[in-house]
Structures are given as C-alpha cells and as structure tokens.
C-alpha cells in the first residue's frame, strides 16, 4: 500500500492511498485503502490520514477518522491522536501497521506498531527525509 498526505499553503489538507492488497488475497477482498474513514480521510478542521497495514482491523476501528475524531472531540494533538489509534486501538487488536497524518498547520506524524514502515516527509524548508525502520 502506498499513500500521501499533504497540507498546502492555504491550510488545506488532502489524503490519497493506493494498493494492490495482500499477497494471495481472496479475489474480491477489499481492505481499508479505498474506504473513506478507514484507510483514507481528510478534513481541514482536523487532519488528513493515509494508512497501511492489516486492513480488516483498520476497517473495524475506522482508524483514519478515529484520529480526526480524537482531535475534534477530545482536543488531542495530531501526534497524540494518531499514536493512540495506532499503538492502542490497532496494536491491541491484532492490527499491525501504521499511518501518516498531517494537520492544517502542517504538522506531520508517522506512527507505526510493526517492524518498519517505508515512509518519507518534506516540509517547506526543503528538508527531505526517508525512513524504513525506526
């Protein structure tokens, strides 16, 4: 699964996710990627999220929109909300994986609960960073 989240100079956020699914998956199986609120979500009032991991668990816990809900209703920061969903809601329910997320201030967080997540980030200052493991 691949994905991107961004915040532009107008403070608008967006998310995009694309996947081939799991190796040897059952034909017709669809995971969280195309399900808005599970693997992909964006709302300027909170954040944009793209997920990767065990799709069925991301769906059951509506992982992407849950991060936004924590920000909206509990006043959590992007980092705290995403960490809770990835490290508790997903990790404690057999949902390995992670997310990338950005808020309308341009803050980025990229938590994951598995060995690694191929990921990268860049901000307006032009600092490009890519990572595979922690």
């Amino acid at each position: 699964t691949v994905g991107a989240v961004a915040c532009d100079t107008h403070g608008t956020v967006a998310a995009a996710t694309s996947t081939g699914g799991m190796t040897a998956k059952l034909p017709g199986r669809v995971g969280d990627t195309p399900l808005i609120g599970s693997g992909t979500f964006a709302d300027n009032a909170t954040c944009a999220v793209s997920g990767t991991g065990h799709g069925e668990v991301f769906i059951r816990y509506t992982a992407a929109s849950e991060i936004a809900a924590r920000m909206r209703h509990a006043g959590q920061s992007l980092e705290d909300a995403a960490a809770h969903v990835v490290m508790h809601d997903l990790a404690e329910n057999d949902g390995s994986g992670g997310v990338i997320a950005v808020d309308a201030k341009g803050n980025i967080t990229m938590p994951f609960n598995c060995d690694g997540m191929y990921r990268g980030r860049v901000t307006q200052d032009g600092a490009f960073e890519t990572f595979i493991y922690r």
Binding site: T1, G21, T33, T52, K105, M110, G120, T130
Partner: protein
C-alpha cells in the same frame, strides 16, 4: 500564507526484513524520494494539497518496488486487483475505486470518480468506464507484472498447500 508539508508511505507487499538487501533498501529510499519530489514541486509552486498527494501517489504507483499500480501483488487466482481513494479536506469531496485492473494509476481513477460523478466509490466495469471517460491511460497486464510479486504469490500458495500457518503480520500488509 501557511507552511506546506507532505508525507508519504510506500509499502512493498510481503517483504520480510531478512530479505531486504542493501540494493533494495537503496531502491526504496529512492522511490520514496521520487514521490516526495513530485509532491513537493507542486506545493512549492503554490499548488494544492490534492494535486500534491495525487502526484506523489502516482510516482509510487509507477515504481515497481511498491505494492500499488505497477508492481501490485497477485490474488490467490494469480490476478491483480487494485484499490485507491483520495479525499480533499477543504470540501470533504472523496473518490474511491475497488478491485479494478487496467488504469496505469488507480489513484487517478479514484480522483475521476470524485470529480466526474456524484458518487464516492465505484467498483467493476463502471469504475473503468469513468477512467476511460476521463481519458486516463490504461496498460496491458505485462506492464503491471513483476517477477518478485509472482514469486511471492507462489511462495505463499506453496506454504498454504503444505498447511503451514504463517503468523507474520507482514503477510497481512498491502
């Protein structure tokens, strides 16, 4: 004016840590950087977040190392099925496609659903019809095939035929 930012992730199907060679690792870093470059160029020019994430994901879909578009994994039937979604935080406009095969960049098909229909998700022939109507480029199966993904399918099917249970969560990742 606010400060822009961009993040990407690029999963690679069933890749186990022990199989990650230095060459592959270099390739993954380069692929991620190419996606960041694509999105960054748009944002730095004052473009929209929606265009930036679309461009970044297209770059990842074009890179056979990643499990999306070209280089997508195979189903148990030896076929490829692709899913994609895009969402705009300013309007909550969203588009998604499920189980499609043919468009070179499934994320553009998802965006076509968002921009050219009243719907959020389309599957099957009508998803492809929307992509055709939007003049999106299509490709033949050879374009999407990669030997590494085919070998991963054979390995997984062989393991299943031998009744082996595999608890490695990496195998449940896209």
């Amino acid at each position: 004016m606010k400060r822009f930012s961009l993040a990407v992730h690029g999963g690679a199907g069933t890749i186990l840590k022990a199989n990650l060679t230095p060459e592959l690792e270099t390739g993954y870093h380069a692929g991620l950087r190419a996606a960041l470059d694509a999105g960054h160029a748009i944002l730095a020019a004052g473009g929209s977040a929606l265009d930036a994430v679309t461009a970044a994901v297209c770059a990842l879909e074009d890179e056979p190392l990643f499990n999306a578009g070209r280089g997508a994994v195979f189903t148990s039937d030896g076929k490829q099925e692709m899913d994609a979604a895009v969402m705009d935080g300013a309007t909550r406009a969203a588009g998604a496609v499920g189980g499609i095969f043919g468009p070179r960049n499934p994320i553009r098909a998802a965006r076509a659903v968002m921009e050219h229909t009243d719907h959020v998700m389309l599957i099957g022939p009508n998803a492809l019809n929307v992509a055709h109507a939007a003049d999106l480029p299509f490709a033949e199966p050879d374009y999407f095939f990669t030997q590494a993904r085919w070998d991963a399918l054979q390995s997984t099917l062989e393991m299943r035929s031998e009744g082996c249970e595999d608890d490695d969560p990496a195998r449940r990742h896209g």
